[in-house]
């Protein structure tokens, strides 16, 4: 394995691992405080049990997220020292702010987890909200840093280095708002729906189980609206890409030729050598319409860019199809669930909905991983879009396959242990029927 590929693989693996814990760390505290609030208001002990269990899950996931995030902050330099040497002063600002947000999150999570008996119920709930808000802000700041890599602002690039830098302008990259919105919604949608799916499964067998019914209602409250809004936010992101990263858009859509009235391709396999995308279902003028709000608009194909500036087309296209396909399913299921909840129908009577929720459970995380593949692989061959190539940024350290394999094995073990622990500590269901709970 060439060193550049090993470094990219290690970074992708580390980010792909960390993102799951980071997302849960953003959204889980909201579920936990909603459950605690409901307990405080209604006195229903099941909500307290839920808050305890979710807090325990958050504790396990937050710890792994914290240490895997530390690994990433070092890996930026261990793998990409030249990138950091140039970009550090420009995008260090959001990382510094993220540091404080993460600090706040860690402090209040400690208070929340260990403070049930030590601080007042009000202070405890407030600590939970502080965790939720600072967790969200951590994510926002990190995504702002990534957005700059897609649309670098706040600098002039002269002779291979940045001059006249402006770190505030760098935080205002045109990519920042669409990416932050898309990722924040993703965290709530994926986490909410995975929890909903996990509790929908036992409800198929035991629809009267009060514990799972309450868990499902809180999880849908957080996850479903986010999943429903996500396609709109995705449209905003796609229009950003169309405008600022036309080569990425062409790869996402498998668009090789520059044309007016370009079709939207659903599925298909891009053949880079032949320069065409086969087996796709084509919706005439769909891409021009979606990307530029004009069915006759010209869409630049990959042919408009030098061959060495193409991202890997097939990976980006397939990842994009996966994200859009699964995301659409999540949005539909969420719309149905919200409709039934709004009409005050009993969700557990609709077995098809429970089945669809079980099916949707892992989809949010698959979508997120696929979405980051689109963002990151689609930015290749650049690490700073249009300015610095990834190959220029990599460390001169040889044998990078070794750390790649070591960290991959380490994370594989951690992943298995975390999954087992969550099953043990959080998911195993208590047996409380609705009548007993009353």
């Amino acid at each position: 394995m060439p060193d550049l590929l090993a470094a990219r693989s290690q970074m992708a693996m580390s980010l792909g691992f960390h993102i799951i814990f980071a997302m849960v760390g953003i959204a889980m505290p909201v579920l936990m405080v909603v459950a605690e609030r409901r307990w405080q208001r209604t006195g229903d002990r099941i909500y307290l049990d839920l808050a305890h269990r979710w807090a325990k899950g958050t504790a396990i996931l937050f710890a792994v997220g914290a240490v895997s995030g530390t690994v990433l902050s070092f890996e930026l330099g261990l793998l990409w020292p030249t990138f950091m040497e140039h970009a550090g002063p420009i995008i260090g600002m959001p990382f510094s702010l993220e540091g404080f947000a993460f600090f706040t999150e860690a402090v209040f999570l400690g208070l929340y987890l260990y403070g049930w008996e030590r601080i007042s119920p009000r202070a405890h709930l407030a600590a939970g909200w502080a965790v939720a808000v600072s967790g969200m802000l951590s994510g926002v700041f990190v995504v702002i840093a990534n957005a700059w890599m897609n649309a670098p602002t706040g600098l002039r690039w002269v002779d291979g280095r940045a001059v006249d830098i402006d770190p505030i302008a760098a935080m205002m990259s045109p990519a920042a708002f669409p990416q932050v919105l898309h990722m924040t919604l993703a965290a709530y949608a994926a986490t909410g729906l995975v929890v909903a799916g996990i509790h929908a499964l036992p409800l198929l067998r035991d629809p009267r189980n009060a514990f799972h019914r309450r868990a499902l209602s809180v999880a849908l409250l957080i996850g479903a609206p986010a999943a429903l809004l996500q396609p709109l936010s995705g449209d905003l992101s796609a229009r950003f890409v169309a405008h600022w990263q036309p080569a990425k858009l062409a790869a996402m859509e498998g668009q090789f030729k520059t044309e007016r009235g370009a079709p939207l391709r659903v599925g298909g396999w891009p053949d880079e050598a032949a320069g065409e995308t086969r087996y796709a279902l084509e919706i005439p003028r769909g891409l021009s319409l979606l990307a530029f709000k004009d069915p006759g608009a010209e869409v630049k194909g990959l042919e408009a860019f030098p061959r060495q500036d193409w991202p890997p087309v097939a990976i980006v296209h397939v990842a994009f199809q996966v994200m859009v396909g699964l995301g659409s399913f999540m949005a539909l299921v969420s719309a149905a669930a919200l409709w039934l909840m709004w009409r005050q129908r009993e969700l557990t009577r609709h077995r098809w909905l429970l089945r669809a929720l079980v099916l949707a459970a892992p989809m949010g995380f698959i979508c997120t991983e696929a979405g980051w593949v689109v963002t990151e692989v689609g930015r290749q061959p650049w690490v700073i879009y249009g300015l610095m190539r990834t190959a220029e940024a990599v460390t001169p350290m040889p044998g990078l396959i070794v750390p790649f394999l070591v960290f991959t094995s380490l994370y594989a073990v951690l992943g298995v242990v975390v999954a087992w622990l969550l099953y043990q500590q959080v998911l195993r269901s208590p047996q409380t029927a609705e009548e007993d709970a009353a």
């Binding site: 240490v67 950091m84 002063p89 990382f95 404080f100 402090v107 622990l421 208590p430």
Partner: protein, 347 residues
């Protein structure tokens, strides 16, 4: 040195403060793991329980100080960060594995068995195994951190790309002086943890256990500190010279010595709160001695704080961000420590 203090020096000072906080707080959490590893005698289980109780609510917050140091380094001194990350790739990667295993294993241990899932005998065995991982990672990570600091302090980090693999990626950190600093770091962390635990123990037997451990660790610090100074004179002449001949050296050594003697005397007389203050002072002074000895260099012998610094606009913005962040952070941290580190009621 005549250039005076600019934003670069201020940020470097903030990074040193953050590093000091990491050593005093996060370091003690690693030291706690060392005492978990070395738990012995009739109160073995209770020693481990005290360590877990002391670390549980705060280790993640304490850990963030390290991230602050890293972020300050890559934002404000990117040239230094890049060179450290390239030449110390191997020990930093090993240290990260230690950090991951320590944090993850501690959390896994805390959540196995206890709580909703009745894990039974299998659960107890697993808890013990994660406890071992936590303890061993806690003992190994400080040594690796010390190795990296030692390589930096020795002024041995090459400019990458000019030498062979061994000379660039191994030789700078795998030295007797580096190992000395590694062991000194381990001894300091264990010393801090034992001293803190004398304050946090709730009964006299346990307090005596950690008093003896603190005194033992103080002896280990003494040996490691003088051993490292000797190795510095042999293998890290810049550091050795700074620590022995600089005009501030006698005053610094006198202050460090006074703090060390106070800590030992206070432990001997069972004045634990005084011992805690003195021990923290002693460790901080050792850290600052290193910083002073290599000032104005960030990476001796050729990269100064000024030369490595980011453009002024970045430094100024980061200083503002630090000020704003501190306004949120310090009240929160004080609240956290007040809730969990309140004086145990005297019997």
């Amino acid at each position: 040195m005549t250039a005076g203090l600019g934003p670069a020096e201020l940020v470097a000072g903030c990074a040193l403060v953050a590093l000091t906080a990491y050593v005093l707080l996060g370091g003690a959490d690693f030291g706690g793991g060392v005492w978990d590893l070395l738990a012995s005698g009739p109160r073995k289980g209770r020693q481990r329980a005290l360590v877990a109780e002391a670390i549980g609510p705060i280790w993640e917050a304490n850990h963030v100080w390290l991230i602050i140091v890293v972020v300050l380094l890559f934002t404000c001194f990117p040239a230094a960060f890049a060179r450290l990350a390239v030449t110390l790739h191997i020990p930093l990667s090993l240290m990260l594995i230690g950090i991951v295993l320590r944090g993850a294993a501690f959390t896994f241990r805390s959540h196995y068995g206890a709580g909703h899932g009745e894990a039974g005998d299998a659960g107890a065995g697993t808890t013990e195994r994660w406890g071992r991982v936590f303890a061993i990672a806690s003992a190994g990570t400080p040594v690796l951190l010390g190795l990296c600091v030692g390589a930096l302090a020795a002024g041995a980090l090459p400019v990458p790309g000019r030498a062979a693999f061994h000379a660039t990626f191994v030789a700078p950190w795998l030295t007797p002086f580096g190992l000395g600093v590694g062991l000194l770091t381990l001894a300091l962390f264990a010393f801090l943890a034992a001293v803190y635990l004398t304050v946090e123990a709730r009964d006299d037997d346990l307090r005596e256990d950690f008093r003896r451990r603190a005194l033992g660790a103080a002896a280990a610090v003494f040996v490691a500190a003088f051993g490292t100074l000797g190795l510095a004179l042999l293998g890290a002449p810049l550091m050795g010279r700074g620590l022995t001949t600089a005009p501030w050296a006698p005053a610094l050594h006198a202050a460090t010595g006074a703090a060390a003697v106070t800590a030992i005397w206070a432990l001997w007389r069972r004045r634990y709160r005084l011992a805690r203050v003195a021990a923290a002072g002693q460790v901080s002074l050792i850290l600052w001695g290193w910083a002073l000895a290599q000032y104005p260099y960030l990476i001796p012998p050729d990269l100064t704080i000024r030369a490595a610094a980011a453009p002024r606009i970045t430094l100024v913005l980061v200083l503002w961000a630090l000020a704003a962040g501190a306004l949120v952070l310090f009240p929160s941290l004080i609240y956290l420590l007040r809730v969990f580190k309140r004086e145990p009621a005297r019997p």
